[in-house]
């Protein structure tokens, strides 16, 4: 391998690693706040990419119907609870988000011509359709299981993943899609061609990571999410509802997933089930961080990207095997070095 190839592979690795890093952060976030290992993270990647692709070929994306359908289910559940308890307090906001919002989205998309919209608007519309699916899934599936064990939540996550992949096939079909790049620029850096889209991926990921950092360090809700992750009882005593924290973390995870999908859609052909593999590599990064440390998880994810890229050169048939085998030494090392701090009783 000469230097040029090495640099090219490195570029590939960093581009993929940036996406894995975003997903790793989302996984750590969801796990810290809710104790849920969010296997369906990858489906949000696919939904983001495929929704944008649908817009670009002038089709109504299936995620619109998913949004309407889940919204109706949530509304039914909330109405049932409100009539049983005789409390109408929360019903108004639940109906706004789960019925009115999807209805407005449907009207705009069915009457407007998304195919003619500028790219920025298409991207915003794709996010607007996919992000609310996160809190809806939380409300329907995970909120009733708030006190379940990590293992039960994991099994449920596998079920949600399978269900969403099935819905992806139903709504988007088996063909893959690619979207138009954000930029056609090509830069020549020391003999290596860097595409504009690669710069977009890395730049946008870096910006998103900084935004997340500022959100957690500075904003009240960011601190509230951290507080819930550290001490759930303490957080509840401050008036931070576990349910709201869960919904917010799912909204963030869905946003990160969809944004990742939108970023890679121009450089990778995305199929309805592509998200799983991508999510799994983010998961390896998250595991490296012990599902607890954001910077270590992000660093681990970038390493996964590089490892994948270089192993695809030397032993392309084994690249997935190599990437997932990394987990084993990392787990051994972690179990040897981390002291388990018993919870104060």
């Amino acid at each position: 391998m000469d230097l040029q190839i090495a640099l090219l592979l490195g570029q590939d690795g960093i581009v993929n690693g940036a996406i894995y890093a975003l997903l790793a952060l989302a996984l750590v976030l969801v796990f810290a706040v809710t104790r849920i290992i969010f296997i369906p993270q990858g489906e949000f990647v696919a939904f983001g990419a495929l929704t944008l692709a649908s817009f670009q070929v002038g089709r109504v994306p299936g995620t619109l119907w998913l949004l309407v359908g889940l919204g109706v289910l949530v509304a039914v559940v909330e109405i049932g609870i409100a009539t049983r308890n005789g409390t109408l307090r929360r019903l108004v906001s639940a109906l706004t988000w789960n019925v009115a919002y999807p209805a407005v989205a449907a009207i705009i998309i069915l009457l407007g011509e998304p195919g003619t919209w500028p790219l920025v608007v298409q991207v915003a519309a794709a996010l607007a359709l996919v992000v609310p699916l996160g809190p809806m899934v939380y409300r329907l599936v995970y909120q009733p299981l708030q006190s379940a064990s990590v293992l039960v939540l994991l099994i449920v996550s596998v079920a949600v993943h399978l269900a969403l992949v099935g819905l992806g096939l139903l709504f988007f079909g088996a063909e893959g899609s690619r979207t138009t790049p954000f930029s056609d620029a090509r830069l020549d850096v020391g003999g290596v061609v860097v595409t504009g889209q690669a710069l977009w991926v890395v730049g946008a990921s870096a910006v998103l990571i900084v935004v997340l950092y500022v959100f957690f360090e500075r904003s009240l809700w960011g601190k509230a999410l951290r507080a819930t992750a550290i001490n759930r009882t303490g957080a509840r005593l401050m008036g931070i509802s576990t349910t709201q924290a869960g919904k917010l973390s799912f909204a963030l995870a869905a946003a990160i997933g969809a944004a990742s999908g939108i970023l890679i859609a121009p450089i990778t052909t995305v199929y309805y089930d592509t998200g799983f593999m991508i999510g799994l590599k983010g998961f390896v990064g998250a595991i490296v961080g012990g599902l607890a440390s954001y910077p270590v998880a992000a660093g681990g994810a970038v390493l996964v990207g590089l490892l994948e890229s270089y192993s695809s050169f030397w032993a392309s048939a084994f690249k997935e095997v190599i990437v997932f085998t990394v987990i084993i030494p990392v787990l051994v090392w972690r179990s040897l070095t981390t002291r388990h701090v018993e919870e104060e009783e």
């Binding site: 009240l220 601190k223 507080a227 550290i230 005593l237 401050m238």
Partner: protein
């Protein structure tokens, strides 16, 4: 003039599974009062506060706070209405700074649209100057006394109408206990009502206006602090030299 009742607990029963931990407990707290609940270890004091706050479901009975009696109590709703609990285990956010812990104490007030958390924090720093010195330190690295100060300070950030304290003296050195009790006493002047749960009956009865004695999940005695201090049963079990439950 008698102040209005702000917390009215009526025939409260709470169980863990089939085991009943509280049996038909009734008590009330008036605005601006300090009321104490004393009782031995395992009497159900923590259970009582948790059930009032909505952390634990109740099997029967009523909890009325400021004339609102919801069928199901929710912690977040109680906080929004002005009830705050300093739990026995403090439940601080150990990996966050002292200042962030305090800010989160004002979480509900911020959500309700108040923007006075900086002024409130200055008041808390006035009450506990130690917290000000350590504002950037992680809560998990504080000493026991400082942790208790932070737990109380964090509760005060919510500007509560009713402050509930679960054994604030637990595990603290006598000097710090005295300081904490002095702070609780001063709160009376700001109009905050306090429900103080203690095993340290002597200190609690000195401070409180009224008290209840809780034994094996039931109210055994009730009265003004003076009456309870003079009650032979209280003297024998909680105050006297040979007091069974006095550490």
């Amino acid at each position: 003039m008698e102040q209005p009742v702000i917390l009215d607990v009526e025939d409260l029963c709470v169980g863990y599974g089939r085991v009943e931990a509280l049996h038909r407990v009734s008590l009330n707290v008036r605005a601006g009062e300090i009321v104490t609940v004393i009782g031995p270890n395992g009497a159900g004091k923590t259970t009582l506060l948790s059930a009032i706050m909505g952390l634990l479901p109740r099997s029967s009975g009523n909890v009325r706070f400021l004339h609102s009696a919801a069928r199901e109590i929710e912690v977040e709703r109680m906080v929004a209405m002005g009830m705050t609990l300093v739990p026995e285990k403090r439940e601080l956010f150990g990996e966050m700074s002292v200042e962030d812990n305090l800010l989160l104490g004002a979480f509900m007030r911020r959500r309700l649209g108040h923007r006075d958390e900086r002024a409130t924090m200055d008041e808390v720093f006035g009450t506990f100057p130690r917290l000000k010195e350590r504002r950037d330190q992680l809560a998990g690295t504080l000493s026991g006394g400082e942790r208790q100060m932070l737990a109380i300070g964090r509760a005060l950030m919510a500007k509560p109408k009713l402050l509930m304290l679960d054994e604030p003296s637990l595990g603290l050195a006598p000097l710090i206990v005295r300081e904490i009790f002095r702070v609780i006493g001063r709160l009376r002047q700001t109009g905050v009502a306090t429900l103080l749960v203690e095993q340290n009956a002597k200190a609690a009865l000195q401070l409180a206006d009224r008290g209840y004695v809780l034994e094996t999940g039931e109210i055994a005695l009730a009265g003004s602090s003076g009456e309870l201090r003079d009650n032979p049963r209280v003297v024998e079990s909680y105050l006297g030299l040979g007091g069974k439950h006095q550490q």
